[in-house]
């Protein structure tokens, strides 16, 4: 046998072994929850149970929340997309044009999906009539307080108005040393967007109207940003804070308020090191309002599951679709969302967990959530960057609130020229 033949033989063996390894699992599942220390065991439990039930194996691919979009994007370009991927609801419009994305109406039937899912949850995965994702869990982004910190600051009731909220922050700053009274997001553009959007709504402003016209250059938006800048100036909020920092600060009793989804409870249990004993401190509260007659605002939130298949074609008995079917079954939906402190997405599961006190309180506190007015556009990533940069510029004193709003209006208008809306 000469050297060349040996080389060919070795390569053939390596290829065979390689392809064997690649096909070791029946389907691949890319998930950011799987990459979260607090939630990994919960997801692994679901995967193990699915394997027992269906005799199909799942290869979990965990990526940090902040890296998910990049990984899906790169895998789409290199044609190595996973079978199933978990998305934040606001990312779906960005990926809606990928041609391997399966319209799940064609797999399960529109009527069946409408019969099974709560309408608000199903709508998160629907773009222009196509069901490009199934909801995994849902809820809203609203305000959370740490009761223990409020007590230390001598505050008995959660503040209802913006004025009371400010007074409460001052009390926390003065009575709880080294605290960040409101851990407002000031570092990551994706998180800054949520805080600005909420305060903008509280002040009666909008960023982009339903027709796609940028309307942020308004008195209301200026007031909102000026309010946020004021919090920074008075050390009621702090720089270098992202959502994970907020969670840790609240869990460690170093912050009184921040904005998050209901799953905050699971993070706070983990980060406080106290587990369920910390639940007593977690207070979901209505976002403060400008006038007593205003309705508290919150942002629609959820996790979605998308399926990728060659040509966007799939059948209900494909391994990936069996996995989706399993995930939305009552067995999983009455367990997984609760463990992650979120609302289930199917009608039957919601009925089954209707008595859960935490979720009930959360829903009562946050009220009707509004759809993320930036996340519905195909250029959401660009819009998020622009808003984040301008708001951060104002918060850190690099420009006035007025200049930031004017610049935001101009940059968003340019970005919206080619944008497509998902409805």
């Amino acid at each position: 046998m000469n050297t060349f033949t040996r080389l060919i033989g070795t390569a053939a063996i390596a290829l065979t072994l390689g392809s064997g390894a690649a096909k070791a699992a029946d389907l691949s599942f890319m998930s950011f929850t799987y990459a979260e220390e607090a939630n990994k065991a919960i997801v692994q439990g679901v995967l193990d149970n699915f394997q027992k039930a269906e005799k199909l194996t799942v290869e979990p691919l965990g990526f940090a929340w902040g890296d998910m979009q990049k990984n899906i994007f790169l895998r789409a370009r290199s044609k190595t997309l996973p079978d199933i991927a978990q998305l934040s609801e606001r990312w779906l419009p960005t990926f809606a044009s990928l041609d391997n994305l399966v319209d799940l109406n064609t797999v399960y039937g529109k009527d069946k999906l409408e019969a099974a899912f709560a309408p608000d949850a199903l709508a998160m995965g629907n773009i222009n009539g196509k069901q490009l994702a199934l909801p995994l869990l849902s809820g809203s982004i609203g305000m959370v307080a740490n009761k223990e910190v409020l007590t230390k600051a001598g505050i008995n009731d959660a503040p209802k108005s913006v004025d009371d909220f400010r007074k409460a922050l001052v009390a926390v700053r003065d009575k709880v040393p080294n605290s960040v009274p409101y851990s407002m997001a000031t570092k990551n553009n994706g998180s800054i967007l949520i805080d600005f959007m909420v305060w903008n709504w509280v002040h009666g402003g909008r960023i982009i109207d339903d027709a796609g016209k940028v309307v942020v250059d308004s008195k209301q938006s200026r007031d909102a940003l000026t309010f946020m800048v004021g919090l920074m100036k008075d050390r009621l909020a702090a720089p270098e804070i992202d959502r994970p920092d907020s969670r840790r600060l609240l869990a460690q009793g170093a912050s009184a308020f921040y904005l998050d989804a209901p799953q905050t409870r699971t993070f706070l249990r983990d980060f406080s090191g106290k587990g369920q004993a910390f639940d007593a401190n977690v207070l979901p509260m209505p976002t403060p309002v400008l006038k007593a007659s205003d309705k508290p605002v919150s942002v629609q939130w959820g996790h979605l599951l998308v399926q990728f298949a060659s040509g966007g074609k799939a059948k209900a008995d494909d391994p990936a679709d069996k996995f989706l079917t399993y995930i939305i079954s009552d067995k999983v939906q009455t367990d997984l969302p609760l463990k992650m402190s979120a609302l289930p997405v199917t009608k039957s599961a919601r009925a089954a967990v209707a008595d859960d006190a935490y979720l009930k309180n959360w829903s009562a506190a946050t009220g009707d959530a509004r759809r993320n007015e930036v996340g519905i556009w195909s250029n959401a990533a660009d819009l998020t960057n622009i808003i984040g940069e301008e708001v951060q510029g104002a918060l850190l004193g690099q420009k006035s609130a007025d200049d930031a709003i004017k610049s935001m209006q101009a940059r968003l208008t340019t970005s919206m020229e080619k944008a497509k809306k998902s409805e």
Partner: protein, 310 residues
């Protein structure tokens, strides 16, 4: 001479020998040895670069499954984009500060390490620590030092009573730039120090002793003897430093993410943001091509020095 040639011609020639002889055989071996490195270079550097060069002429965003040819439109957009020009300016500031800082600190440390004192060997070895640590780990260490809430720097300054409450060093443009420059300087000192130390060990001690006998002070010795002796090393170190700092991405991204706002967005971060935050691969490729163009002059200088044996 003719006799020798005749004798050589009398020896039998192997049937496997070819016309090229020993020289050609050496060339073939040389090419064979070059093959792994050349293959790696083509796969990891040349192909992606050519691919980026091609993509810079296309519109290719996340909404498009196939790129669309638009000629030089991306470059025209860059010309009109103040953010990209700001990234060029930020890169220039970063490269000048990092290279100058490392040069001064590296030379200073090498001069100290060249003096005889107890424990010099241990200190020399410890000096290599920043080089051994992965750059991202170093960036996180410095991130903690500068952290506004838990940072060592704030704790130290508050202990001394110099500040009343923690400062957000990474949230001002100047503070963030200073942090990324300091981190890079700290990372690069071992490399620069090694170059300078090697140069200093070739310095004729008798020359220095003679200068001292003639009354030269420390500054005069450094200016008139050490620096002229280190000139070739200085040239190489400056060029390598400029190239390395122009390419810098990991420490900056890990430490500040290019912020606050865009204060530390150098060209490498700009390319990353355009590609993976705004999903505009065509535009990012065009910025990348200009970034490579910025790297070419120092790279050319370096190669010229190598070829000339300087």
């Amino acid at each position: 001479m003719a006799v020798i040639e005749n004798n050589v011609g009398a020896y039998p020639v192997s049937p496997h020998a070819n016309r090229g002889g020993l020289k050609a055989g050496q060339n073939r071996i040389g090419l064979l040895l070059l093959l792994p490195a050349a293959t790696g270079f083509c796969a990891i550097i040349l192909y992606p670069f050519l691919s980026a060069l091609g993509l810079s002429l296309f519109e290719y965003t996340v909404e498009m499954m196939e790129p669309r040819f638009i000629g030089l439109e991306n470059f025209a957009k860059i010309a009109a984009d103040p953010d990209v020009w700001a990234a060029f300016w930020t890169t220039a500031i970063y490269v000048v500060l990092s290279t100058t800082g490392t040069l001064i600190a590296g030379l200073g440390w090498a001069l100290i390490m060249n003096q005889p004192f107890a424990g010099r060997g241990v200190l020399r070895s410890l000096s290599l620590l920043p080089w051994v640590l992965p750059a991202t780990v170093s960036a996180f260490i410095w991130g903690w030092i500068f952290n506004s809430r838990y940072g060592v720097l704030n704790a130290f300054l508050m202990e001394l009573g110099l500040i009343d409450y923690p400062q957000a060093w990474l949230s001002t443009p100047e503070g963030a730039m200073l942090a990324v420059v300091l981190t890079k300087v700290w990372l690069s000192i071992p490399l620069f120090m090694s170059f300078f130390l090697a140069g200093l060990q070739n310095l004729d001690k008798e020359q220095i002793d003679a200068a001292r006998v003639d009354g030269a002070g420390n500054w005069a010795v450094l200016r008139d003897h050490i620096l002229p002796h280190l000139r070739p090393v200085l040239m190489i170190v400056v060029v390598l430093g400029v190239i390395g700092n122009l390419q810098q991405f990991d420490t900056i991204y890990a430490l500040t993410g290019g912020g606050p706002v865009r204060a530390t967005t150098v060209l490498s971060v700009e390319v990353y943001r355009r590609a993976f935050e705004q999903w505009d691969i065509g535009f990012a490729s065009a910025v990348g091509v200009l970034w490579v163009a910025a790297l070419l002059p120092p790279a050319f200088l370096y190669l010229r020095m190598l070829v000339k044996g300087n």
